[in-house]
Symmetry: C2
Subunit: 228 residues, 2 copies
DNA sequence: CCTCATAATTAGCCAAGCCTAATTCAGGAT
DNA sequence: ATCCTGAATTAGGCTTGGCTAATTATGAGG
């Protein structure tokens, strides 16, 4: 019933493909060859070739000219990588003094090299955190993951007081800027103003007032409605 | 004068070859193809092929049918890997609760994945240790290394009191056994007896007395003469 | 000085993963 | 219903890093 890919170790490349496909199909919508190619910075033919191999390994289903979807076995492998990546990021920030904008590339390499044992030891040292430094949820070792609802700052009603729960981790510059304003996950803010037509938003946080453009307002996500 | 291999990143394989060759030629004596093949568990032809590439990269000198020797550039790269390996081992023991017999395979993979930044942060967290958990000296970031003289327990005079400074890191079983007897680097022991013709040695350490066969007596090395 | 065992190298393959160029398919516009 | 455009795949090639089988060099012993 389930080929369940004999537990032969996957290569770095394979792990990267699975993670990318997972990222591209949050709720099972198929991912296209070109999306994958773009995300991994590879040519489309390279992706076609690898996709064929991965589907033979039972890690994904491929409908030619349509797209790919992870199998259970593939999704499990992808979530394992996501867990590693996010725990590594959390560990680097907590115990090795990394700034939150610098952990991504380091985790990108380490996630392929650490053993399950090391990952779990890091999880223990961290006290089994639920999220990484950017607020992204860390999948459990059993592969379960809970994505708490959150709203971009740009969609929030003026006047609400909420907690920042998550910030897009790409773009180190953006992370550095937000950190310099003190706008990081866990911080409580009040939305004081929002100009129409994608105009800037004004937020207040521990006495300071900041004006953010549309791009920033979209990547900063806040606790779901009613919070606080 | 010095091709100094353009700082293009080396591959995992190349790093492993350099490290192996470094291990096999402590003071510049050339290493043979078959020694390298044996250490890396590869076939001799594979080594021949790689050796040719490495010598073209200026990392080593190869005299066909004679042997290979690292160039300065190659030795620098090898020492960089040794530093990484030993710092990682020290870090895992100190901060992640690894037993000293389990760190080797983990370090073997991580040494290829960590950034220079991460290595130095680990070094700082550890307080720039001089040796790893097995007592092997950690090269400095500038590539210098000091190998303190040490004597195998099997060569020590009866009656001497010395400090254990170093234990061969291969053979996890052996490490576990020695740890179970409390015979680890830093521990002070007195040689109470040694039987001739490779017979067992008897040592005393904090009140306990242990009898060790020849194999163990050879891999446990003690502080140079006169110590303590 | 020659022979021969052993070590080393060369010859010839293979798989993983990438590429570019050529081809084929799907689906909207005519 | 057909055409055309863009996405996807196939064809063909390259590099890395391994392998086995065949060949060649070294150096020790007769």
């Amino acid at each position: 019933m389930d080929a369940t890919a004999t537990t032969e170790p996957l290569t770095r490349s394979v792990e990267d493909y699975l993670k990318a496909i997972y990222r591209l199909s949050p709720e099972g919508r198929p991912a296209s060859t070109s999306e994958i190619a773009h995300l991994l910075q590879l040519s489309p033919p390279s992706v076609s070739g690898m996709v064929k191999r991965l589907s033979e390994l039972g890690l994904l289903e491929h409908v030619p000219y349509k797209g790919v979807q992870l199998t259970d076995s593939g999704r499990r492998a992808a979530l394992r990588m996501v867990r590693r990546h996010r725990l590594i990021e959390a560990y680097l920030v907590e115990f090795l003094g990394y700034p939150w904008d610098a952990v991504h590339p380091e985790a990108e390499r380490l996630e392929h090299a650490v053993s399950d044992t090391l990952v779990e030891r890091m999880a223990v040292a961290l006290g089994h955190p639920a999220v990484d430094p950017h607020g992204d949820p860390i999948p459990e070792a059993d592969g379960s993951i809970r994505e708490p609802a959150s709203t971009p700052l740009s969609d929030l009603e003026v006047g609400r007081t909420v907690e920042i729960v998550r910030v897009d981790e790409r773009e180190p510059e953006r992370l550095r800027y937000l950190a310099s304003l003190g706008l990081t996950p866990g911080v409580v803010i009040t939305l004081q103003d929002r100009q129409p037509f994608g105009g800037p938003v004004t937020v207040e946080s521990s006495g300071e007032r900041h004006v953010l453009g549309q791009e920033l307002a979209q990547v900063v996500r806040c606790g779901a409605e009613g919070a606080r």
